[in-house]
């Protein structure tokens, strides 16, 4: 079930909240209700994957208990982490690995063609972190109900944020959190509405601009290539941060505070700053469970650079089983290595130059993230540099391209301009909600935005092929 679907907004969320608070006097049943609702939410798309997430939860809980009870839990930890990675590997990376082996001429092509279970990267990482911390004696969870809710809680289940047990378990265990708290319901609804509006009004209208560039990478001109890359930069931010806002908002209605995931990332002044603002919970996971165990900063300089590179290569691969993601991760890893070297040289750039360099780097690297293949990414980058269509870089070419764009896609152009204004000039959604005090104006604006956003969800699109 998607957050921006009618079944979620009109049926699932209100019914789940009503049931949860109705059972508020019986904390255990309220938690169980939320677990069942979350599993229903998960199974909506493909019920066949329900046994998989069920087995994953049961298996990890059992391993955690064994780690806790054993004098040395290390074998259980290794077994548990290996099983989680094997599950993730089989479903997400096996075909990529087999295809790579085949492309290298080492074996004939064999594909498993397993359907990727939704959210597998998220619930696998969440549970690996839990096992590691149980082994470090930093975590313990005696209640299976709470553990199941920790993994399945629907606001974070499919696309994060990646939660940490230390910040969630006390909230799930609290009995006062099972009662309606209007001081949370209000901001929760505001955040949910902001997220929905981001998705509907700022992210979705950009799809045609993005597709026009990325689906025709080999033939696109320079202005169109830049527009596509910039449109995608905005689309992925508003899509993902909008989704996260909706997750945080929904959780807040249940009196659960999820960690923030975005903090105006495109205002970052360097790449390290960017990763402190973009997908913050993934950065935190990679730092705590990969970068630091590899040695982190406490090693020789070459080793630190290697750790950075490995972390971001694997971070890229986590996003998807394709070389485009590996390249994207590698570029960010190299960028961070360069930044580290640069910082040691003691040279400081003016803020505007630092921002421009960072933003341009991020826009360019998104090309790899979005492109269908490395060849497409290369073609689009060539177009962006003017190497493929030099004529289009002339002032006339640019003017014609922009004018054609405005005539063909006015809604997308408006979304892009509004998106740029929001990204660079406005406070982000979390700051807005934090700073807002309850008022009729906020309530009226939220009700209006929620209504208008819901009315935009469905797309009544006619048959496209006019000329038969």
């Amino acid at each position: 079930m998607l957050f921006n679907s009618y079944e979620y907004l009109i049926y699932f969320l209100p019914i789940t909240a009503l049931g949860y608070f109705a059972l508020g006097g019986h904390a255990r049943w309220a938690v169980r209700w939320l677990v069942v609702a979350s599993l229903f939410f998960y199974a909506w798309w493909n019920p066949a994957h329900l046994p998989l997430i069920g087995a994953s939860i049961l298996g990890n809980y059992w391993v955690a208990r064994r780690i806790q009870r054993a004098s040395s839990g290390r074998p259980f930890l290794i077994g548990g982490v290996a099983a989680n990675l094997a599950l993730l590997g089989a479903f997400k990376y096996a075909d990529f690995f087999l295809r790579t082996v085949s492309d290298a001429g080492l074996a004939p092509l064999v594909q498993l063609n397993l359907a990727l279970p939704l959210g597998i990267s998220f619930f696998t990482f969440t549970q690996i972190a839990f096992l590691v911390d149980v082994h470090r004696r930093k975590a313990t969870e005696p209640s299976f109900d709470n553990y199941a809710l920790f993994v399945t809680f629907f606001p974070h289940l499919l696309a994060g944020p990646i939660i940490h047990h230390s910040e969630m378990m006390p909230q799930f265990a609290s009995t006062t959190n099972k009662r309606v708290a209007w001081e949370n319901v209000g901001p929760g609804l505001v955040l949910l509405t902001i997220g929905l509006a981001k998705k509907v009004f700022l992210a979705d209208p950009l799809v045609p601009l993005v597709a026009a560039g990325f689906d025709h990478a080999a033939t696109v001109g320079t202005p169109e290539a830049w527009i596509a890359a910039l449109a995608y930069t905005l689309q992925i931010y508003f899509d993902f941060s909008g989704y996260t806002d909706m997750a945080l908002g929904a959780a807040l209605i249940f009196n659960i505070r999820l960690p923030i995931n975005f903090d105006s990332p495109y205002r970052a002044l360097d790449l390290r700053d960017f990763w402190h603002r973009w997908h913050i919970t993934l950065s935190r996971f990679l730092r705590e469970y990969l970068y630091i165990p590899l040695g982190g900063n406490r090693a020789s300089e070459p080793r630190v650079l290697a750790n950075l590179l490995i972390t971001f290569l694997l971070g890229g691969l986590w996003h998807g089983a394709a070389w485009t993601f590996v390249c994207w991760g590698a570029l960010h890893g190299v960028g961070l290595c360069w930044l580290r070297v640069w910082s040691r040289m003691g040279v400081t750039l003016p803020r505007s130059v630092a921002w421009a360099a960072t933003f341009t780097f991020v826009v360019v690297t998104w090309v790899f993230f979005r492109a269908h293949s490395l060849a497409d990414a290369e073609a689009l980058l060539r177009a962006m540099t003017g190497a493929s269509t030099p004529a289009a870089t002339s002032a006339t070419g640019v003017r014609e391209a922009l004018s054609g764009l405005w005539n063909a896609q006015p809604a997308a152009v408006l979304a892009m301009l509004a998106g740029l204004a929001v990204v660079f000039r406005r406070r982000n959604s979390n700051a807005l909600v934090r700073g807002a005090s309850p008022s009729w104006l906020v309530a009226a604006a939220t009700a209006t935005a929620l209504t208008v956003s819901v009315l935009q969800l469905s797309n009544v699109a006619p048959f496209l092929y006019f000329n038969f």
């Binding site: 009618y6 009109i10 906020v442 009700a447 969800l457 496209l464 092929y465 038969f468």
Partner: protein
């Protein structure tokens, strides 16, 4: 704020349900029906549900210019045409499920298109746009994308105010008739056509026999089998001979004819299904003046097709399939394609 949003959304749903621009809950009677251009996939399920008919016709764009009364006159009893452009086999299945959920038609005419069976069994053509499956299942609870749509609300208000701010037809007898807006004739067919590479313009997908069979077995056979009380006519329409030339150029001829043979064999065994083959009528298929492009013929041919189907002509059974195939191959061999000069 939640109450205000809920009230506003409730009001929108009430307006859309009352005006019902896509006729999902009733046929339009309080106002002139509006068949919005190219909105077949949103409106046809409502027609299939609420119209009265004994015969249903379904096919691709080539059959859209077939008015209901022509079908009714030829086949007897009230009739409905539910054809949709670029229809896929999966959409035929979805549409006919809606038909059988609400009606027990005496006769169903399915005009087959080879492209409908291209790709995987559930594959649809990109150009078809979204399929609002929630409108096909009779479940009002999942109609929220219709009831809470801003686009639908604009149409509702437009009807309420009597505005005509977008193109639509109002003729319920021929809601999707397009032939009156097109030009037919040899020059139209040959305009911009490279006769030596016909697929350069039409870009039809390659098909495999296994894929087409799988699609037919998944999408069509269960319908035929589950409704033994209904008479089914599976019809191969008279494309222009240039289509067969295109198949030959793309090495798709044998695959296509093998699929036709397979359909005859499977259908004949069911007892309630006839296969009607109109593709070897050279007097039609070689006369390009009857067409607007190599696939789409004029309304006179639509009428001719329906009349032949209901008269029981051109039915093919396993014993006759060889003769039909031979005839088609001979006509193709005899066919003199237009020369480059003629195309210019």
């Amino acid at each position: 704020m939640l109450g205000a949003a809920a009230a506003a959304l409730g009001l929108v749903a009430a307006v859309n349900a009352t005006m019902d621009p896509f006729q999902q809950y009733r046929l339009a009677t309080s106002h002139e029906p509006r068949f919005y251009a190219l909105h077949h996939r949103f409106i046809n399920p409502g027609i299939a549900t609420h119209a009265a008919y004994e015969t249903a016709l379904i096919g691709s764009s080539i059959m859209e210019s077939t008015p209901n009364d022509i079908i009714a006159a030829a086949c007897g009893g009230p009739a409905v045409n539910l054809s949709m452009p670029a229809i896929s086999a999966a959409e035929i299945r979805t549409m006919l499920r809606t038909v059988f959920r609400t009606h027990a038609p005496r006769r169903v005419i399915v005009v087959l298109d080879f492209n409908a069976f291209a790709g995987l069994p559930d594959e649809r053509q990109d150009s078809a746009g979204p399929l609002p499956s929630y409108l096909y299942d009779g479940n009002v609870l999942n109609d929220l994308p219709y009831l809470l749509s801003g686009t639908v609300l604009r149409k509702s208000i437009s009807i309420l105010l009597g505005r005509h701010d977008e193109p639509f037809r109002t003729d319920a007898n021929a809601p999707w008739f397009w032939a009156d807006r097109m030009h037919f004739g040899r020059q139209e067919v040959l305009r911009g056509l490279d006769v030596a590479h016909l697929n350069a313009r039409f870009r039809q997908p390659a098909r495999t026999l296994a894929g087409m069979r799988a699609s037919f077995e998944h999408n069509v056979v269960p319908l035929l089998r589950n409704h033994p009380g209904t008479r089914f006519d599976l019809v191969w329409p008279p494309y222009s001979m240039l289509v067969w030339l295109d198949f030959a150029q793309r090495d798709q001829l044998d695959v296509t004819l093998a699929f036709k043979r397979y359909v005859v064999e499977v259908s004949h065994a069911l007892g309630n299904t006839s296969v009607v083959d109109l593709q070897a009528h050279a007097e039609i298929t070689t006369d390009l003046d009857r067409y607007m492009d190599i696939y789409h013929f004029g309304p006179a041919v639509n009428r001719w097709i329906i009349e032949r189907i209901c008269a029981g002509e051109d039915r093919v059974d396993p014993a006759g399939v060889d003769a039909y195939e031979r005839r088609l191959r001979e006509e193709l061999a005899r066919y003199k394609a237009p020369t480059a000069r003629a195309v210019q």
